[in-house]
Symmetry: C2
Subunit: 327 residues, 2 copies
């Protein structure tokens, strides 16, 4: 069966790492993908006034899955609506360290399951008086239940024993109270082991003892920060893939941005993007191929060519070719 994959490279190094991931997907046998490219980001905004043209929205909506690279200044105008287009309710962000790579904490293997529809991301803001502004953070029982269910299921499916529910219910008693109570009820229903953690204390513990954590279920903004924190533990954003998972659709993107400082030089690390493509494979049921791509990336990270962010002088193309070689 042919799957249609929307490919949206976006800006900066998105233009370099997205084709690299597509090359890897094309190198797989037994996978039949039809790639359709769409535009988004600063460049298309400069040209047309719109960072995310309607054609690109339609493309992502109609595809079986989307690969997205990165966007520059317009990142929020591109990625937030794209997440809505694919109906994403869970942002899945694995952060793991790889043997042989320098990492602040070499023993990290954590997956952040970030609620992806509400919190401060609802965008409800106003200036209610001169110099007085508000942002209405929304937490619902439905969305909290859905993300907790997804998190507990993910942990079980992927062999993680530890589930941690992050919250700040000592201050946001009503909203994070609801998030916490709802997520705990899901854990109890499933008879699962879990812990709860205040997100500030959790930030400290993640830095000191990441090996104590497995799956971390988080409200939206907390997940944004905690997963970036964890990126720092394992050697930076060049290694972190992510999935935005909806009911019938999904979008895959590296956690990194468009990196304007190195864009155009052909030296961007394609690992995060290729690992995002591996998550896409899993999602479409190609588990074996997803594992093969991850194993190939891991092998190359261990003894293959490295881009400058990892201390080497290889190009994006060198790394991509090495990954394909390993497949």
């Amino acid at each position: 069966m042919t799957h249609e994959i929307a490919v949206i490279p976006g800006d900066g190094i998105g233009q370099e790492v997205t084709p690299a991931a597509v090359e890897v997907l094309e190198a797989l046998d037994a996978v039949d993908f039809d790639f359709v490219e769409g535009e988004a980001g600063d460049a298309v905004e400069a040209e047309t006034g719109e960072a995310l043209p309607q054609e690109t929205r339609d493309l992502a909506a109609d595809a079986d899955a989307t690969l997205f690279g990165a966007a520059g200044e317009t990142a929020a105008d591109v990625i937030l609506p794209l997440r809505q287009v694919v109906g994403s309710f869970a942002n899945v962000r694995p952060a793991r360290s790889y043997p042989g790579l320098d990492a602040v904490q070499p023993d990290t293997d954590i997956v952040f399951i970030r609620e992806n529809t509400e919190g401060v991301y609802k965008g409800i803001e106003s200036e209610i008086a001169d110099g007085v502004t508000t942002c209405t953070r929304v937490i619902t029982e439905d969305a909290s239940e859905k993300i907790a269910e997804y998190g507990f299921d993910y942990a079980k499916r992927n062999g993680y024993d530890d589930v941690t529910i992050a919250h700040k219910a000592n201050v946001m008693r009503t909203t994070d109270g609801l998030f916490l109570d709802t997520a705990e009820a899901v854990g109890q229903d499933r008879g699962a082991d879990y812990d709860t953690a205040l997100m500030d204390a959790l930030a400290m513990h993640l830095v000191m003892s990441p090996e104590d954590y497995g799956v971390v279920v988080c409200p939206n903004l907390a997940g944004d920060m905690l997963s970036d924190l964890a990126a720092g533990l394992v050697g930076g954003l060049g290694l972190l893939p992510s999935a935005n998972v909806g009911e019938d659709n999904a979008l895959f993107e590296p956690v990194h941005g468009s990196a304007p400082d190195i864009a155009g030089e052909g030296i961007a690390n394609p690992s995060a993007m290729i690992l995002s493509a591996a998550m896409l494979l899993d999602h479409l049921g190609y588990d074996e191929q997803g594992d093969a791509v991850r194993a190939a990336v891991e092998q190359v990270l261990d003894d293959g060519p490295r881009t400058p962010d990892l201390g080497g002088d290889a190009s994006t193309g060198d790394v991509t070719a090495a990954v394909i070689d390993e497949l």
Copy 2:
């Protein structure tokens, strides 16, 4: 001139480290303090139904400064109103690593200047429908200006070249947009050097390269998380003091909590609390004595007795005596 110091040990190890800090202050010549003790926390709530009795509020309000230890389950019910009682607008949290101590990042010297009156801490929450809750985050120009001014002044006074303004204005465009614009305007007015950083990216960079940062000016909740993150970098909460600074009053407390797991054993690390007392000395104009206390703590951390959290087997009393010896 005699200063009246309110002393509120609170719960758990607060009962152990607070007297240690008072002992250190009493050992200083040229400092004339009158200590008056007040109750707060779980124990007094269990007894009276109130975690923060009116007498304790009055005590803190009338004192020249307050030393607060820690509270247990009632932490938010104690510390949030106490911060209001002293009119705190700036929560000052230095996070530095000490030579000779194990740290995830041994080259850290960062001071978080956390806005301390608004954001989600306004406590404006409601359940607007069954299973649908909101928290109204408030950001004002006045508070943003005040914290930015405090931050830039602090940096100048204490010899930090780098000021970073943390925000999430790409998502919270109106509220964090106001925070960011206002803080930037203060920096520009002063002709100061500063950077701005999205708080998620900042979390990553702080983990990887804390040496690149000096003073970080943050909205309230971001400051809560980022300063705990930094505690993880330097070896844990046992080392971090903090000040809650108001116009005419202030409260000093360790960043750590009541640590029920080790409370009552006499092995709590008093360093964070003693360093908080040093900040109190600075605040009341005893800069020389503040420096002396910091130097003594540093010396003891380097080659003196250590409590179990730092890998030693000394008691709270041993460390306190060693600090006093060094004075």
